[in-house]
Subunit: 258 residues, 2 copies
């Protein structure tokens, strides 16, 4: 299996750094090929801007979406963007590992998504018609690949529980699971989350490694979150609202899971 | 009224640029003082890293939270961070304006939050005890100030409706409303959202300006989203789960709104 680990933490001598090293070693020892995009170590450019398109018409207004479409089609994207797209094409499985900062991914990783997810690569793929609204949410270029988040939080598990003050972790991660991973076609596995990172001793760290190792051993067999395909008949097109007879009278993120 | 507009779009000649200019002019004509943090124009450093703490001990492992706490206490933060904190102290009302990219704020704005929201300024404020878990979620240094999001999306309003495929807009914005704005004490006003930005003609743009103008005219009087205060008795401490008799048997983001 080819595994791409996209990793976003500024300090290698951290819990996240240790989990990254464990993951790479564990997967390699199992015979898998691993590439790591260590965004801080790469000095990844986090900000999507006009300089990502060196061959664009000087002085013209910068439309991020149209510029991305043109550059992707014509092979004139910035080299760092094209390299990350190649890694995604190569991978069978993608892991995104990061600390939850302000209830979302760190800016450097968000900027990886914004820049690497080009028009024609991760969105703007496929036809739009009365029965098909683009190859997205279960279709797209990442179809057949798997993805999983590895997330750490300072807060306690109860703070992220179904009635916890921060909101349920599944809801906080939904925009990533569904909106960033399922959107271009990934099958999304349940996340691996480590809570209360400030209270980590050797015994607990051993438990975390053991649990993470089991998740890594079953990357190919774990059942993905059963999100509903957008073009599979469950949604009205083009309104893209869930059919009235599915999860009737319910609303919210959870109705998009079958 | 002192209004800080934190603005994140790379192109001034865009819908977002026009709405920014309209907002500034409209507020100034009403007699308010306005400061704009135009993150792209400022070349804002999006990535939180060790270089934000120029006086830190060389070679020591970088712990973002502890380093932030120390630098905030000792006045050794990077100058650009301190300047933004001063603007927040000055403001009565804060507007965050951005296009929704991949169902969240752009990386450059996320990095503004991560860097400006120092330990001791936006988190790690107040005592932790059996009855009080920090000055947060309704308390904190931003108490008494108001905040509102101005958001644009390419997708249609129905795609963000309660049963829309992208998820309801209120749920997508909850981590910002509740986790980034209410957390340090802001009263959070309902957002101003412009959908389907690619279909904008002069007539529709006039309607949008009119609607936005009304929201700007009522910044001081609009009822905020009634989030529940963490330390007001609604939550068990330290589990921080909502008391069983409030919104009984319900879960999810919505239970944190009274």
């Amino acid at each position: 299996m080819n595994v791409l680990l996209v990793y976003a933490h500024p300090e290698p001598r951290s819990l996240n750094g240790s989990l990254r090293d464990f993951t790479v070693n564990h997967l390699q020892q199992a015979g898998h090929a691993v590439q790591v995009s260590d965004l801080y170590a790469m000095n990844w450019k986090a900000v999507l801007d006009a300089s990502d398109y060196p061959e664009r018409e000087a002085g013209a207004p910068f439309n991020p979406s149209l510029e991305s479409k043109h550059a992707f089609q014509h092979g004139t994207q910035a080299a760092d963007i094209a390299r990350e797209q190649e890694k995604l094409r190569w991978a069978d499985t993608v892991l995104l590992q990061f600390p939850l900062w302000w209830f979302a991914m760190p800016a450097i990783l968000k900027g990886w998504v914004e820049r690497v997810y080009a028009y024609g690569f991760a969105y703007g793929v496929g036809e739009h018609s009365d029965t098909h609204w683009g190859d997205r949410y279960g279709e797209g270029l990442m179809k057949g690949k798997r993805a999983m988040l590895v997330v750490t939080t300072g807060g306690w598990e109860s703070h992220y529980s179904p009635r916890g003050v921060n909101g349920p972790i599944d809801d906080l991660l939904f925009p990533i699971h569904h909106g960033i991973l399922y959107y271009p076609g990934f099958d999304v596995l349940p996340p691996f989350v480590v809570y209360r990172t400030s209270r980590m001793d050797e015994a607990r760290f051993a438990q975390v490694r053991e649990a993470l190792g089991q998740r890594l051993d079953t990357l190919g067999t774990t059942a993905p979150i059963p999100f509903r395909q957008q073009n599979g008949g469950a949604y009205e097109i083009p309104a893209l609202t869930l059919r009235a007879d599915l999860a009737p009278d319910e609303t919210g993120f959870a109705i998009h899971v079958a």
